[in-house]
Symmetry: C2
């Protein structure tokens, strides 16, 4: 078995070169390219070239928010674990996940809804600009859309990339029509890794 001889610090660069080669004749929008390629890098799945959709203001709004000390709120601790803390610290931004909070579990049980939906309610209390990154629970996006409509939260960006089979496709279409800036992976695919990769691609545009 022949291994390609690549120094540790060059593995990502070499990966990105391979991705670029395999994109062939596809020309990506310049501002979106680093985000789309990082998602392919994290998934080895070129479907995202087709499925990632950006509202026109998404990247500008997200970068402005990160520069203003935004809080990224994820719907899983996996996604939180995957967001680059060094980059966040350089920007004075942070990442939070409320999924394991005792009050979230209690409220979810009481209301008969998912903990992820309750996390979106808790996100309304966060001060300063917020970026919502949903990589798992479509119920989070559905509840978030209601909270946006009620004027209770106005995220600078919604990263809508839950994965799965029940209401996942629909939840993404719903959030795309909510009027807030979004980056969405249409269809069933996505995940905590994809959510974290999009956060990191945005962070790396400012701090790396």
């Amino acid at each position: 078995m022949n291994l390609e001889n690549v120094l540790p610090g060059d593995i990502e660069k070499r990966s990105m070169e391979i991705i670029q080669e395999e994109l062939g004749e596809i020309i990506l929008d310049e501002t979106k390219a680093s985000i789309i390629k990082r998602v392919i890098h994290t998934s080895a799945d070129f479907d995202y070239v087709r499925t990632l959709h950006f509202s026109p203001d998404a990247i500008d709004k997200a970068l402005a928010a990160l520069k203003n000390g935004a809080t990224i709120i994820t719907d899983t601790n996996m996604a939180k674990a995957g967001v680059n803390k060094i980059g966040l610290a350089k920007l004075g931004a942070k990442v939070e996940c409320f999924m394991l909070d005792a009050d979230v579990a209690a409220t979810a049980k009481e209301k008969g809804c998912t903990r992820a939906a309750v996390c979106m309610e808790k996100a309304c209390e966060v001060e300063g600009p917020v970026i919502i990154a949903v990589g798992n629970a479509p119920t989070a996006l559905v509840r978030l859309n209601e909270l946006i409509a009620e004027g209770k939260i106005k995220p600078e960006l919604v990263i809508g990339v839950p994965v799965g089979f029940v209401n996942v496709v629909e939840s993404k279409e719903i959030i795309m029509s909510s009027g807030v800036p979004y980056i969405v992976a249409r269809g069933r695919k996505g995940g905590s890794n994809v959510a974290a990769a999009i956060c990191n691609a945005l962070i790396y545009k400012l701090a790396r």
Copy 2:
């Protein structure tokens, strides 16, 4: 947009039903089915039906190890975050990741190798049965194969599902011929989410 009305506690069950429906005429091996379906559930990617490969002893060895208080060692904190802690606690098993340890970073810099490779060296010092779950770094699998050949570690199971473009395919083939029990996603695809899903599918066979 019509949402399917599914209670929070039934979302996973409904997802598994949809996956089973969409498998159509494919009949999965009974002992492997829950693992393969959980990986599809976490990725929405049916490619894993083809790409997941199991050594004949993999599941039996893994379940015995988990019952004997195994330590699962992951190559990312994302994978660690995704492993079900309640299930692990019921079994008296645990999960560790050494990627952020200061000594790992120092050794990697000194040796000019990846931190993930050094984590495998550190895994040799863990007492009791170990399950190695690699969802990110092919360099971890390559180093692990060397350590196995040198008799420095004998994992009860290697979950080999790194994702990416540089030496990923090759590292999986290498670990499949190392002589230890394995569950591998052949090809480029995998990830921390897939690694965690396989760990959880194994845990849920014993404790849920």
